[in-house]
Symmetry: C2
C-alpha cells in the first residue's frame, strides 16, 4: 500500500498536516499500551509530542507488509522498524509486528482508521 | 463484544446460518496462512470443511479480548483457544493471538469484515 510509505515519509519529515490526510477523521492511534487517542486534533498533538520525545530523529519504515482485505476494510500486518536517538543520546531501534486497519472511504480512497503499531503485544504476555 | 461470544457459540453448535449473520456480506476469512476466502458462500463452505476436518469436535473460545475502536471500525485482539479431536484421535489444542476487524454497518450493527485468527503470525517468522 503506497499510502503507508507516504505516511511514513510524512512522519519522517514531520509533515503533520500531510500525515493527517492519511487518517480517517475519527481514527484512533495507540500511543502506547493502554493509551489511545482519537481524532485528527488529538492524533496531530500526539505525533508532535512523539517527534519531540525522539528529539526530531524519528525514522519509521516497514520491512514487511501483508494486507488482508474484506468488506471495505483492510487489515495491514507489518514489521515496523522505529529508529531514533533518545534525549540521553542513546539509540532507539525496535521492530514491532504492527496491525493497522484501513477503511475505504465513500470516494474510494483508503484511510487509516486504527493505528496500532503494537499489534497483539497489547494482549497480556502470559500464554493464556 | 457479545457478538464474538455469539459467533463462537454458533461455530461450536455448527449453526452456520446463524454464524453468517455475524459476518459482513463480503467478509474475508483467513483459513490458514496464505489461504483466504471472501463472501458468505465461500465462508460457509470453509466452516463446513473445518468442522469436518475437526471431526465435528471443534470448540472455539476467547481467553482474552481487547478492542480498539476508530472511525466506524474495531480491531479486536484476542487470545483464541481452539480445541478439537483430530481424525487420528489425537487432541488439537492451540492458543492463537488473533486479529479480527469489525465494521459498523449503516443500521448500527457491528459485523466482522476480516477474520484472521493467525494475527501477526502471517508475517515471516524471521525478525526482519
Amino acid at each position: 500500500m503506497n499510502v503507508i510509505a507516504a505516511g511514513d515519509a510524512a512522519i519522517n519529515a514531520e509533515n503533520f498536516d500531510a500525515l493527517m490526510t492519511f487518517y480517517a477523521d475519527d481514527a484512533t492511534l495507540v500511543i502506547e499500551p493502554g493509551r489511545c487517542v482519537t481524532g485528527h486534533v488529538a492524533l496531530r498533538n500526539a505525533f508532535v509530542a512523539i517527534a519531540e520525545h525522539f528529539t526530531h530523529t524519528l525514522r519509521v519504515s516497514q520491512e514487511e507488509i501483508l494486507v488482508v482485505e474484506g468488506a471495505g476494510t483492510a487489515l495491514v500486518l507489518a514489521k515496523t522498524r522505529i529508529r531514533a536517538t533518545l534525549k540521553n543520546g542513546k539509540p532507539y531501534d525496535v521492530l514491532r509486528r504492527a496491525t493497522y486497519v484501513f477503511r475505504r472511504e465513500e470516494r474510494g480512497a483508503w484511510r487509516c482508521s486504527i493505528d496500532n503499531s503494537y499489534g497483539t503485544e497489547l494482549l497480556s504476555s502470559a500464554p493464556a
